[in-house]
Amino acid sequence: MTRIELTVDGAKVVDDVEPRLLLVQYLREQLGKTGTVIGCDTASCGACTVHLDGHSVKSCNVLAVQADGAEVTTIEGIATNGELHPLQEAFRECHALQCGFCTPGMIMQSADLLAENPHPTEAQIREGLEGNLCRCTGYQNIVRAVRYAADATSATTDGGAA
């Protein structure tokens, strides 16, 4: 067992974990963060995407011990004071989810994408989400939602500056 200390969705946690434990297993099984899900075993689908120190990672591809000292944010930690994150709102508004299994990872990846490029083109959105699979939506409304969130965020930002 190895001692790790990290922050998950704003809360400090200290745990002893098996060195082979994956971050996604740690989140789900030890912390009960079941909003993050496992869709594959080859880091192909992106369903388990979370943020590690502000950047998206596939949490099936990171060991829990590698998150020692880090700040982890999951889908359960992005709404603030009960107010949905702009991407959560956008996914709902644009019907960007059906079964919803890929959605937590898709939203976390989209957040990373918009952090790097606040005004992406359709092609940039599609490229940026290439590592996250969805079987229900054909991606059309996911792309729409990311643009919607980008527009909403920039409108808010512009409003604040004015």
Binding site: E18, R20, R28, K33, T34, G35, T36, V37, I38, G39, C40, D41, T42, S44, C45, A47, T74, I75, E76, A79, L84, Q88, F91, R92, E93, H95, L97, Q98, C99, G100, F101, C102, T103, P104, I107, E122, I125, R126, E127, L129, E130, G131, N132, L133, C134, R135, C136, T137, G138, Y139, Q140, N141, I142, V143
Partner: protein, 806 residues
């Protein structure tokens, strides 16, 4: 009547009723915040974890299983083989034996002495954690004596013990499971197809083609998971399934545990597409182990296990003969089909080609048709329903043939279709396959699609590129499709030897606070039932959308139901709810009359209120609900409840249709295909929620396009699945696809009061031939007449080389 419905421009446009309103989904809040209840999130205290030991061989006798090392591993509770569970594991049923003499091997959840496909379970390890169970599974030592494996569909169909061909189940002596024939001459629905073909050979056109429907994997995003808790009075199973009701019935029927002692719950389910329309070895094994040990058990498959062992779809060879007169009028179609069942006859696996049998004539009115199908056992993963189930294969065949006919005639493929399709004034139309299409308007849908597509401009660009010898050629593909949805009238299913009915059940409970609880036997896994069904009930009862709560997916909460598949939820389940709402109103009326001191004949109901003509007196349905709860004052002779239940059995299928147009650019130097434009106009009848309908079309298109261009389950010569991860099985990503131009028309169905036709499978059925027609169209100047699916760069490049050489 035909109306065109376009989504309102604003988010929640002002609207009188709920029907046709683009409500945002009720389900979404929990899904976007991570508060979803997937089966894998459930673990009662003390849950034991299962790991399956699976055969690496496609076909082998099991000569010994040594479980000692695994059983002695730390935290391992038990290691059980098929022999250990022989008396209690039950069998996996085939609910649709398509002929009385169908040959089907017995399918035990855990193989006992022989394995028939790579991935079949031979033992189960039970441990206190999933990781230790997986570790110990590696220690189970199984001795296999390999047997010849039947892998190639056409070779398997011809194999006999005498000719030395491999037999998937040697004890059966054949790989041929069933032969199912429909002949319009014999059925009295049309003429003799051989006569039509003979006449066409003399002075018409005969098109003969063979098409392969490659093996596909449904690849739902949520891997299958099952939890069984045997403590308490009932055994409770949570499962990532489309069919909790059918699962409960078959668990009871095959294990001897009474139905009343089994509760099956499908909590949030992450996609299905037919892939979770199955009763599975994993569920049956978990059920048997939980009963044996008396403890809760859980099994969640890995993605590799899912791709390997959850049922696959398609996998057919089609031999087709189309007869036409010299003027392009189609006179007959003969279909000779081989369908690969895999190693076992799955729940409805044998019936999948039969569902297609009624759709090969599509929207056309030719007079002679014969469908002759053989289902064949092989040593591969079993096959069953995958989005469309039989209908995509049929649509692909006829839509590819219509293009080939057009080429033969030297005419535009749209024109040849127009010449042969049923016109809007000919409905209702009884087809050569014996179905009665109730409504549709192929002309208008096509005209709208052609306009939106810019058909003439793209044809002009195509001509220019051809003249200039552009290495990137443009192809235009057409698919004018219909499908049979709303499975299904129970009597029809009975006549086809299906083991169950096609009804659906609904209940509406009027709560004293004025809220409404709706119970449906249809079990959602991403379709948005909670939203669409709320809209239907809110519309009929005149109550706020927010006040309706939809309950489903639990045999204790929704005891009667036949679950979700075949685009049936709205047309059958939604209609049951609509009728139940009407019944609530009818039951509430005497209460209203009594409380308003009026004759029931003078009381009218609209917008949630009972009123008396000529007065301002009114009672809302919520007030009646509270009055019925109190039951202090009500007419003699009626029960103190306005709740209602309805079981609805449809009288006919529904027949959505549409016109899909696809443009692709094909790089003739590399074989790469790029989607350029996709336009579709779908007539799905009355639309309850345009946002959900558009989403269904988008997702369906993605899956159909993926069959055309990317996806294929590939086995090697030893029967090992080579596409066993999502790195190898090419589910498309956002970067592979484009934004589609989708539009909806609404010619109401006449088979249900909603006028709905269903939309879940439309995009998948229509899009595959549109894309392949486009690829082939691009390559006609190179002498190419077909590209086998999926149209990968390698296959396209090879087709160009072969075509140019010929």
């Amino acid at each position: 009547m035909t109306t065109t419905e376009e989504a309102p421009a604003t988010a929640e446009a002002a609207h009188d009723g709920e029907i046709g309103r683009d409500r945002r989904r009720k389900e979404d809040r929990r899904l976007i915040t991570g508060r979803t209840r997937w089966t894998d999130n459930i673990a009662p205290p003390g849950t034991l974890h299962l790991a399956m030991v699976r055969s690496p061989y496609a076909h082998a006798n099991i000569s010994g299983i040594d479980t000692r090392a695994a059983a002695q591993s730390p935290n391992v509770v038990a290691v059980l083989t098929g022999a250990d569970l022989a008396d209690t594991q039950g069998v996996l049923a085939n609910a649709w034996p398509i002929t009385p003499d169908q040959v089907a091997p017995e399918h035990k959840p855990i193989a006992v002495d022989r394995v028939a496909f790579a991935g079949e379970i031979v033992a189960v390890v039970v441990a206190r954690s999933a990781a230790t169970a997986a570790d110990a599974a590696e220690l189970v030592d199984v001795d296999y004596d390999p047997l010849p494996a039947a892998l190639d569909l056409r070779a398997a169909a011809d194999a006999t013990p005498e000719n030395g061909g491999a037999i998937a189940h040697p004890g059966l002596g054949t790989n041929n499971s069933a032969r199912w024939i429909f002949d319009s001459g014999e059925a009295g629905t049309g003429g003799n197809v051989e006569d039509a073909i003979a006449a066409a050979r003399t002075d018409g056109i005969v098109i003969e083609r063979e098409y392969r429907q490659q093996r596909l994997i449904p690849a739902f995003m949520e891997p299958r998971s099952v939890v069984v808790d045997p403590t308490g009075e009932q055994i409770t199973m949570w499962s990532a399934t489309q069919i909790p009701h059918i699962t409960r019935f078959l668990l009871a029927a095959t294990t001897g545990v009474p139905e009343s002692k089994i509760r099956v719950i499908a909590p949030d389910v992450g996609g299905g597409f037919g892939g979770k329309l199955q009763t599975t070895p994993e569920e049956w094994t978990a059920f048997a182990v939980a009963r044996r040990l008396g403890k809760p058990v859980k099994y969640t498959e890995t993605r590799s296990e899912s791709l390997l062992a959850a049922h696959h779809g398609r996998d057919q060879w089609q031999k087709l003969t189309l007869a036409a007169r010299a003027d392009g009028t189609v006179t007959g179609l003969k279909v000779e089909l081989l369908a690969d069942l895999g190693a076992y006859v799955a729940l409805v696996g044998g019936g999948v080609p039969v569902l297609g049998a009624f759709m090969y004539n599509a929207i056309y009115k030719f007079p002679a048709y014969r469908f002759d199908c053989r289902t064949v056992l092989t040593n591969k993963t079993w096959t069953d329903a995958y989005r469309g189930a039989g209908r995509p294969e049929a649509t692909f065949a006829i839509e590819r043939l219509m293009d080939e006919l057009a080429v033969e005639l030297g005419r535009d493929p749209l024109e040849v279709r127009r010449q042969n399709w049923i016109t809007h004034d000919e409905f209702p139309f009884t087809t050569v396959a014996g179905l009665t299409y109730d409504s549709g308007d192929y002309e208008s849908a096509t005209a709208q699609a052609v306009d939106a597509f810019g058909y003439e401009d793209l044809r002009a660009e195509q001509a220019r590129r051809r003249t200039e010898g552009d290495p990137v050629q443009l192809g235009i593909g057409i698919s004018t499709f219909t499908e049979m949805c709303g499975l299904a009238p129970s009597r029809v299913l009975g006549s086809l030897d299906y083991g169950a009915g096609g009804w659906e059940h609904a209940e509406i409970r009027m709560l004293p606070t004025g809220k409404v609880e709706v119970v449906t036997g249809s079990s959602a896994h991403g379709q948005g039932h909670e939203t669409a069904f709320s809209q239907i009930v809110a519309d009929r009862l005149g109550v706020p959308f927010e006040d309706v709560e939809v309950l489903h997916g639990d045999t204790q909460v929704a005891p009667r139901g036949l679950d979700t598949y075949g685009s049936r939820s709205l047309t059958v389940g939604g209609e049951a709810l609509a009728l139940a709402a009407d019944k609530v109103v009818a039951k509430a009326k005497p209460w209203a009359a009594h409380l308003l001191e009026a004759s029931a004949d003078d009381v009218e109901f609209a917008h949630g209120k009972f009123t008396v003509a000529g007065t301002s007196e009114a009672k809302t349905i919520q007030e009646i609900a509270l009055a019925a709860f109190a039951a202090h004052d009500y007419p003699e002779g009626i029960e103190p409840s306005i709740d209602a239940e309805v079981t609805f059995d449809p009288v006919n299928f529904s027949f959505p249709h549409g016109t899909h147009l696809c443009a692709v650019e094909v790089d003739t130097e590399t074989g790469a295909v790029r989607l350029r434009k996709y336009v579709c106009v779908d007539d799905v009848g009355t639309v309850i929620n345009p946002l959900i309908v558009a989403g269904q079309v988008h997702g369906g298109l993605a899956q159909g396009i993926a069959q055309a261009l990317w996806e294929e389950a590939v086995y090697d010569d030893a029967g090992t699945l080579l596409t066993g991860t999502l790195a190898d099985y090419l589910v498309p990503s956002a970067a592979d696809l484009i934004s589609f131009d989708t539009a909806i028309r609404s010619t109401p169905a006449t088979s249900n009061s909603l006028g709905a036709k269903g939309v879940g499978e439309a995009g998948t059925i229509a899009s595959t031939p549109a894309v392949v027609n486009a690829v082939v169209d691009a390559l006609r100047p190179y002498g190419v007449h077909d590209v086998e699916m999926p149209c990968t760069p390698a296959r396209v490049w090879r087709a160009i080389q072969d075509g140019s050489a010929s």
